[in-house]
Symmetry: C2
Subunit: 495 residues, 2 copies
Amino acid sequence: MTESLERRIADRALSYVIDPPSGVDPVIEFSSPGELQALFGDVVSLGFDAESGQHDDDALVGAVDLVIKHSVHTSHPRFVNQNFAGPDPVSVVGDWLGAALNTTGATFEAAPVFTLMESAVLSKLGRVAGYVAEGADPLPTLPPGLFCPGGSTATLYALQLARHRIRPDIRRTGATGEQFTLFVSDAGHYSASKSAALLGLGTDAVIKVESDELGAMLPSALDDAIAASLDAGHVPFAIIGTAGTTVTSAFDDLNALADIAEARDMWLHVDGCYGGSALFSPTERHRLAGVERSDSFVWNLHKMMGMTQQCTALLVREPEQLESCFALKADYLFQPDKLYAEYDAGDRTFQCARRIDVLKLWLAWKHHGDLGFAARIDHAVARAEQTRDRIAASAGEFVEVTGTFTNVVFLWVPPALRPLGSLSELAAETHKALHELAPRIKAQMQTNGTAMVGFQPIGGLNTFRLLYMNPAVTEADVDAMLDRIREYGLAATNA
Amino acid sequence: MTESLERRIADRALSYVIDPPSGVDPVIEFSSPGELQALFGDVVSLGFDAESGQHDDDALVGAVDLVIKHSVHTSHPRFVNQNFAGPDPVSVVGDWLGAALNTTGATFEAAPVFTLMESAVLSKLGRVAGYVAEGADPLPTLPPGLFCPGGSTATLYALQLARHRIRPDIRRTGATGEQFTLFVSDAGHYSASKSAALLGLGTDAVIKVESDELGAMLPSALDDAIAASLDAGHVPFAIIGTAGTTVTSAFDDLNALADIAEARDMWLHVDGCYGGSALFSPTERHRLAGVERSDSFVWNLHKMMGMTQQCTALLVREPEQLESCFALKADYLFQPDKLYAEYDAGDRTFQCARRIDVLKLWLAWKHHGDLGFAARIDHAVARAEQTRDRIAASAGEFVEVTGTFTNVVFLWVPPALRPLGSLSELAAETHKALHELAPRIKAQMQTNGTAMVGFQPIGGLNTFRLLYMNPAVTEADVDAMLDRIREYGLAATNA
């Protein structure tokens, strides 16, 4: 008997999870859009015709094989391209079970077990962050936060909570033209500006505060910026502290920010999308000292902790505010006369139906325990330290530019340009040569499938970034990635 | 050799997908929060201790079995509780493969195949909706829309696009205090108000327009409401037409709304979260006549089409506007010097990293073809028609109150109250008895696990709603659900 299509696809997915590409396998079988179109065209065309027919199982399985072959292998030990990688296999199958059960997280009625799991996980995260005291209810009816579809959305909600605290009428009357301002470091995430645009605050409301050479906000600059905003007649209402910037993984001094927020009576939101997970490591959690004083804190467990996309917790210090900020009490959706409706989370947030994001995290945490979660963080930091050591020992071949925690930002210097000298005094043509080199090396890594390493401009100069949270990365992989950069760099500069 | 934890969980999930609970199985093994806590406590406690240890595989598999047993079985043929149900098994395993590959939909670099699949599916949806002409590029670099995490978020984005068209400076400067207004029927979804609150428009900006007895907006009332808003010095900027209301599945007359939107130079957004999928059926698509004239159109494929949570497409008639409305061009994330960066969708939306929602839809559509998608819609409508016939033949035992398309809203009338007479002239105690009966019957269905059927107040009177999109529902299941309502109703009124 032939196996069902579902089983054949599921088998392939499971094999991929249990035995993902690694070692000498390519991290990506790179193809152009036109090449992909041709490859699929031989099996099941990517596009749809005016009348789209049914494809047989063999063709669809062939397409699935192409999907797998030509996707980026984010669990590959040489994928260090972005601030997620290496999904936890237990998380993956937890995600699968949630999808199989396909319900919504909005009500106890539709999701009795998952409603309690959200309560359990949010309570635990709240305790880890210091939002809730140890000894607090491990299964509260009103947990200290909620799950969101991603970090940007969580920051959007947090800023709405912040505006709601200072001007509760705006929810009903709309913005009055008063000029609100919010403050984030100039190394912070662009979701602050995207949120300000959506909220009707305007991107001008986002004051980007100077940061130090690592990317941590300068508290004195923050205080000056707030004072200047007040002088201009504006209404400073929120500070976003960043715990782990995208490029350098810098951590703002959250205690200093909390002092200012308290003195100025402003909302402190912490963007810990990336670095929040440092809290799991006893040796790294000091980086977030003061987070327990913030009003809201977003934490993407799909980044460092390897949960599948997406698993975002927004912690809120006063969760009672969620209802006053978001609830509309639509009687056709949230009926108080239903059983255990007091657990319903649906009206405490913006979304209506929500995918189940909690099961995978609950399972992974129960599997790995606190110690396993800590080990994942410590492994990542160790790889970064190894990279820094290797760069320091390279006698100027590699030059570390910036970065901390898990992020190493550096240049590879062609032999003709060594020693490079001070970055701030580079000759224009040296600057240009280095700037154009990174995309060429990256394109070579991509098309050869040997590694995926990110680059970005720092002060107008494209620099590589190795950032670690992928548990598959070994010491040998770090060396191999640096070797590939050298190899393609030499080829590009000798060509 | 013992199987790995991942395989054991995956096997259970796959068995559930291939052979879900049905027939005499309960649709839910109902337990209270305290009972669930006790059941899990015997295996793996739901909550987390101050120090959370590692649980062994057997315990975790035991917990997984409890998760399955005590979750709501949305693919069960007697689950008609909400406007999603019965996930398509191909969609489920497509979702799984996307999770296994765990990447983000933001860039071609991170998701080459999925970027093209999004283009393909959005192009096809755009053609089905009439946004794009047949013969248009089946794989456009700039597809006519984007994927969003749910319908509320899509409506939020659409209203931001609408505001941006009329006042492009607000994105930068923030709202000026000008009073904008938007219009939706009084049977429309509450996400209009939630969006208005978040956008800084305020819930007062949402003018709820009178609808007819089925729940379709009265176009003349809309035009009057806009005129009144103009007279008050407000700025009417958007109309939300509803294609499939939550309670009655009513469809607004989109051509009439488009006429008004054109005459008034307003944005027309169509909330087709539920009913958009009627477009797949040649016999039902007339309900959305005029949708091709709208400016934006949200369509939840995770509702009628059985994609897993979530699969939301926001179609946009002028997709060039997405970039001008949303892009921030963060150079550390979207580098134009990367290969094929012109395909990157990440900066055309609000979210940064996005879960892959397209693969499951692409696979399901290639599997079922247009005809299979049409059959799913026609099956749902046939079950609703059967329900109406049964009610009409019940000699006053069941009374249809409202509903169209797939939704049947009705009362069960206890023998002592038959014949019920006109609903608008019910005696106060009759009204009270009927109002209190629905929650009691519902609670009995839940605790007995025999069916999950929704209820909601209509004119202050709790009424049942059978809404169909679950392909597992047979004619016999419809009869069985009505029988259970009678059984529990008789027991409740004789007690």
